[in-house]
Assembly symmetry: C2
Homo-oligomer: 121 residues x 2
């Protein structure tokens, strides 16, 4: 995250892939390590930064911030700041973000199934 080099081959490849393959495009957006889990929690309703943090036990504040920023940039979630002290910020899925719901559910089912399959020796 942090910095990406727009002259790298990697960047160019990602662009080209995303242009041609909407599934690769989607994967770039929701493929982060915590992305789907965050969305999955937000499917239940809006949450504050600290609540998200509690639900994702091992995430660092930095990572949470970065992922939320990226999701916000991609309009998957919206961010509302309340001018209070101490500050309060709420995150909520947007319409397009909420449309990930069936995909997330499908991935969950597939994941369970796949895990079972690998475990049966």
């Amino acid at each position: 995250m942090t910095e990406i080099k727009e002259t790298s081959t990697n960047f160019a490849n990602k662009q080209a892939l995303a242009d041609e393959c909407p599934e690769a495009y989607a994967s770039n957006i929701i493929g982060g390590q915590w992305t789907l889990v965050i969305c999955s929690w937000l499917l239940e309703g809006k949450l504050r930064f600290s609540e998200l943090k509690k639900n994702l036990p091992n995430i660092t504040e930095r990572m949470l911030t970065l992922q939320l920023r990226k999701l916000e940039e991609n309009k998957i979630i919206s961010r509302t700041v309340y001018a209070e002290v101490p500050p309060r910020v709420e995150y909520e899925l947007t319409a397009i973000g909420y449309e990930l719901k069936p995909i997330i559910k499908a991935l969950e089912n597939w994941g369970e199934k796949h895990k079972a399959l690998l475990e049966e020796t």
Copy 2:
């Protein structure tokens, strides 16, 4: 790819997440840069290494090999070697791999929609 350090925090986090959240588990498996595109091509039927390479213009042979290996390890694809010269190797989706089809299609639709949304304005 290549080497992963089983003592790193990152590794531990991934494990923990995958244990609790099947969607994160699934994302780990299909979240590689080329993974979904490869699967998407294989949805149409078995393909040889060189055919895959042709369809993924900028991929290096090394990357293709690594991704295929990972997919094979995860039993998403199967690999058949024909004892010929020059060698011939065919890749094909397994049953569980084929079950990704609706997910891939859903991701494609979502991706298109999302792209359109970001472009308007």
